[in-house]
Amino acid sequence: MGDNPYIPYTTTVQETWYETGGDRCIKTFKVTLDDQKARESWSHRPGQCAMIGVLGTGESMISISSSPTEGDFLRFSVMKMGKVTQALHQLEPGEKMTVRGPYGNHFPLDQWEGKHILTIGGGIGQAPMRPIVEYVKANRNKYAGLTMIYGARTAGDLCFKEEFAEMSKNEELSCNLTIDVEEEGWEHNVGFVPSMLMDLNPSPDNTIAITCGPPIMIRFVLENLKKLKFADDQIYTTLENRMKCGIGKCGRCNAGELYVCKDGPVFSYARLKSVPEAFA
């Protein structure tokens, strides 16, 4: 990328797999940067994003769903939605994906050391939180605990299922899965994510809650966290908006005076609650 932030890195797709099926299926890509120097100098933190794309089609801002603690590859989980994501979905191992970044701020995991981490995700909203889970797992002695609530419409819409099954065996990590309606063979909770949060009734003591998911879910999760007496600065979320440049120039991703690409995507509720457009 050098001095020109618009010139992307070339990466090679190493592995791909589908997380979910259907028209809007989610495919995960594991990629490595081709240039050795770039690979060595690349560093990102959980919560950051990258502009990924296919030359000739375009780019989309996607959260990096791997933690740097996992190795010198990057993972992206992409829902097939529009022109760029459809082109990305056609990529198979050995093919090229362009990557610019990393962009944006990150979860303040250093500040959260010693605390209990509670992630509350819905659907593809789990992607930006997966690196938190991985990071805390890799630095387990630095955190008081990790509780995860994750829900989707159906069992087939849950991402990272095998990883969570593995995690559930580990008693230090509490993994709580839920789906919207009853399904044959489903052994976990049935109900919406905000209600599951109330059922679990987590204590706000020494805890940080991070939520990401559809806007309607976030709204009710925030309400419920307040009912559970979480303070505004104990609650974090990530915003997403349409982006083109990723470096605070093209204009469109602002929520009020904040550029989601530079000031975000990670915000504390204490910061966001006075930003009128934040939950638009």
């Binding site: 010139i7 375009g58 349409r242 083109k244 470096i247 204009g251 005076e257 457009e277």
Partner: protein
Amino acid sequence: MKAKLLNKEKWPDFVQKLATKVILAPQGDVGRERFMPLPDGQAPDMEYKNTAVPPKGAAFPQTETLFRFALGKDDLEESKPSEEMILLGVRPCDARAFTIIDKLFQWDQDDPYYVRRRAQLTTIGLACPEPGLNCFCSSVNSGPFSTEGLDILLTDLGEEYLLDIITDKGQEIVSLTADLLAEAGNDDLKKRDELAAEAEKKIKRSVDHQGIPSGLPGLWESPIWKEVSAACLGCGTCTFLCPTCHCFDIQDETEGFAARRCRMWDSCMFAEYTLHTSGHNPRPTRRERTRNRINHKYSYYVDKFDVIACVGCGRCINLCPVNIDIINILRQVKEAL
């Protein structure tokens, strides 16, 4: 630096001497003027009020190639604009607009394309003794004889142009054309000041922006946004022709196997600007988009860069097909504070 005089008889020679660089000068039919490369041997008409299209494209082209590539190959050929250009006859409001968008293109991380073009740009301005009907530069921290963003300011003294040399780049122009120039006397400077004072008095419209930057966010749910945007067609003229609007889109274009990634002006007044792929739009109607446009210019930009992103050129008023008037909007904002 001392001011110079150029007799108008020598104007064509002066322009000829500058022609080692690309000269961008106002051209086109009345009402459709824009800055375009001046054909060889011609001297520009300097009688125009202001161009319909602002000169921002000299540093931020309407469409610009970022890099070229061939489909199926990984090699990217970066586009590196390298032409030195002179904006000749740029009005003070438009020159000042460059200093405002400089901040955006240079904050945090430089935009290499803009920065390169801007460094290669010399601005020779033309003072405005007869401001337009909807000019309000003097109430947004500028004026018809402002030198901000200019390398040289020309003032029409009748038989002669007075040249105020503002920067080193301006001094280079003076060195290049020294044999055509005479020293300006105190009388000439006095005459310039008189013209400036008269011009200020001729400006009939104004904005009282005191308290607006800090007060605007508090008017988020005010009914004024629906009122002031009711007539809006969403055509985007107000933003495309705004000298401080800098928003852009990035697109890939292909022709056969040849391809380029380019960027082009975009507008916050378009629905697609913020439309998510899911169909969700955080700014679903013209009410939200108009509110964002005014907040961006008069509040967010002030917060971030300490300057209003409006130079009072009046284009968005003159050229709006349904007569939406930013001065009226700001007056209503002021009353609602």
